[in-house]
């Protein structure tokens, strides 16, 4: 099964806005994607609560998995998103 492991790039970790952007992208993917930390239980990447509950901080390595048509492309896009510092791109920060 296609798998990608990537370190979370957002300064605040996989929380709040970075988590929302990731979950939205995962929900838009044509395949079901799971995400896990280490050897813990994989959770659906399109579930905001499950993704938050991973407790992934900046630098935490997470593993994405998916199967089916377009899985490789979907994982590549999601991995690229996770590696970016999405906090630094935040608009209207106060």
């Amino acid at each position: 099964m296609p798998t990608r492991t990537v370190a979370v790039g957002s300064a605040s970790g996989l929380h709040a806005r970075p988590a929302r952007l990731f979950v939205e992208a995962a929900a838009a993917a044509p395949v079901k994607v799971t995400i896990r930390v280490g050897e813990k239980k994989p959770v659906p990447a399109r579930s905001m609560l499950s993704v938050l509950a991973l407790g992934a901080r900046c630098g935490t390595e997470v593993t994405l998995e998916a199967d089916g048509d377009g899985a490789d492309e979907a994982l590549a896009g999601l991995a690229e998103l996770l590696a970016r510092d999405l906090d630094a791109e935040e608009p209207g920060d106060v």
Partner: protein, 548 residues
């Protein structure tokens, strides 16, 4: 609910923000209690009922996000909506009804509980988000039960807001165009409700039992000076505290006979400088630096810090800015410090004590402050929070001087520090009394504990004793002693504080005009006599009676 009041009557509470206002009373939606489990006849209909409630919560949050004018607030609301619309959550609700035989309320409660446990286990930032999950659960339960959504009403017309208590998070929702006064059932003079009301210039009464028994829509009159809340009265024109003294004195603070009392503003960022200017603040008596560190899993770097400090120093050019180093811990946990698991955070590693474990955080901050000062040439004084001993004060002063900051002081928040004020002033340049924490630690009474509000009254003679000890030490040493807690915002207390030897009062900008007028109304000699009278009182009520 017990008896609902609609007729003429009056309730008594503690007035914490002056002025008079009237309007129809609306209660903030309260958190619904989980009803007793009910047998489920039609499981499919019960699933529908539960999921429809979650869908309504998602829709409601979406509407609020659309209305929000602040991009950050809208982002937070959308993230909340996504949590309520989570498919795993819905799946777990469905299972609880179909397999577990639970009713909609218990299915929702159980589904949130499992994620709640996971968040708590993850700790840090996520543990703080547990409150968000609880809020979503409460909203879904209220919807199932046909109750108003918990939170602040936004009826589109002026009204008096009644609540059990207000949390800092409520401030994001509170529209000062609609809310004309605040009344809470619990809380005290230093509760968030009081601080918020003074910041917004709204009359407010706290610790007012019975206010939640008043029916929504009943016309009420709130007097923030006397603490009286009258029901069934005709509407009166609004006279908020800040409008009550429109023709008051201007210019630097001074007593009737010209004894100077610096009147300063408490700020959190450069955004607050305009308000301080408008109120005629002579400088900043408390620049809180926590704002920059909130919700961060890593410490802001020296450049980012210096830029934020520079913005304030530039805006306050030519005036004094007292900047406080990071005051984290206790009620202000910061994720990057990873302080989980303290048995009693209020008595734990907070304020300057963080330097025991993470000296680098203080060193970086002092260097950033020094850089911003060098760039702007501002008159910058730096002070440390939560200092208890002379050794701590001396170490802080050394670190500040080493960073190139000439004036270093400490906050007086712990009785131990107040008792040794004279010794502290041998190693630092000034003292600033944080009366909120000094009350909390002197009376061993949690600031958030409404039933102990009377202990946190700034008129408590024991608190005034400690302030007097600091004032005397300052006079002896010829060094400034300021107050930057909420007590400084009380116009009736101001002359007494001046009489106790306090040389500056720092407060929310909106409180400044009334305090300036109060100080100008008395000679320095009168202030000293009032202070002596207050110290002879047995309790706050008597202290007020003797001096007003």
């Amino acid at each position: 609910m017990s008896e609902i009041r609609t007729g003429i009557g009056a309730l008594a509470g503690i007035g914490v923000s002056g002025g008079v206002a009237s309007g129809p009373l609306l209660r903030a939606g309260t958190v619904p209690a989980l009803p007793s489990p009910a047998p489920v006849k039609d499981v499919l209909a019960e699933v529908e009922r539960a999921l429809a409630a979650l869908a309504e919560v998602v829709a409601d949050l979406g509407r609020r996000a659309d209305r929000a004018t602040n991009a950050t607030v809208a982002d937070v609301l959308r993230a909340q909506a996504m949590m309520a619309g989570d498919e795993e959550l819905h799946e777990s609700v469905r299972e609880a009804v179909l397999d577990g035989g639970h009713d909609a309320c218990h299915a929702i409660d159980g589904a949130f509980a499992s994620f709640r446990a996971a968040f708590e286990e993850a700790g840090g930032y996520l543990a703080e988000r547990v409150a968000d999950l609880d809020d979503l659960r409460d909203r879904a339960l209220a919807t199932v039960l046909g109750r108003p959504m918990p939170g602040i009403p936004a009826p589109g017309h002026p009204y008096v807001l009644a609540a059990r208590d207000l949390a800092p998070a409520d401030t994001a929702e509170l529209d000062p165009e609609q809310v004309v006064a605040l009344v809470t059932e619990i809380g005290g003079p230093t509760s968030h409700t009081a601080i918020l009301a003074r910041a917004l210039g709204l009359p407010a009464v706290v610790a007012c039992p019975g206010v939640l028994d008043i029916a929504d829509g009943t016309q009420v009159l709130v007097d923030g000076d006397t603490g009286r809340v009258a029901t069934g009265v005709a509407a009166v024109p609004r006279t908020p505290a800040r409008a009550a003294t429109p023709a008051g004195p201007t210019g630097p603070g001074r007593t009737a006979d010209g004894h100077p009392v610096k009147l300063l503003a408490n700020i959190g960022s450069a955004a607050n400088v305009a308000g301080a200017d408008e109120a005629g603040a002579e400088g900043v008596g408390l620049f809180r630096t926590e704002l920059l560190f909130l919700d961060r899993s890593t410490e802001p770097g020296p450049d980012e810090q210096a830029a934020a400090y520079r913005a304030v120093f530039t805006a306050m050019a030519g005036r004094t800015v007292v900047i406080r180093t990071l005051d984290a811990g206790a009620d202000k946990p910061l994720p990057f410090l990873r302080q989980e698991g303290e048995p009693n955070p209020a008595l734990g590693v907070r304020g300057l004590r963080i330097a025991r474990q993470r000296p680098d955080v203080l060193t970086t901050q002092l260097a950033a402050i020094a850089r911003a000062r060098a760039d702007t040439g501002a008159d910058v004084w730096v002070m440390a929070p939560m200092v208890s001993t002379v050794a701590e004060a001396a170490a802080f002063a050394d670190a500040a001087h080493e960073a190139g900051l000439p004036r270093a002081g400490v906050m007086i928040e712990v009785p131990a520090a107040a008792l040794r004020a004279a010794a502290l002033l041998r190693v630092v340049d000034f003292l600033s009394i944080g009366t909120n924490d000094l009350s909390q630690y002197t009376f061993a009474a949690d600031r958030m504990c409404g039933t102990l509000a009377d202990l946190l009254d700034p008129w408590q003679p024991a608190l005034l004793d400690l302030i007097g000890a600091c004032g005397a030490a300052g006079r002896e040493a010829g060094k400034p002693v300021g107050i930057c807690g909420e007590a400084a915002a009380d116009p009736t207390l101001a002359p007494i504080l001046v009489g106790l030897g306090v040389t500056s009062l720092s407060m929310s900008a909106r409180a400044l005009p009334a305090v300036r007028a109060a100080v100008a109304g008395r000679s320095f000699d009168e202030c000293r006599k009032l202070a002596q009278l207050a110290l002879t009182a047995e309790d706050p009520a008597q202290a007020r009676k003797l001096t007003t």
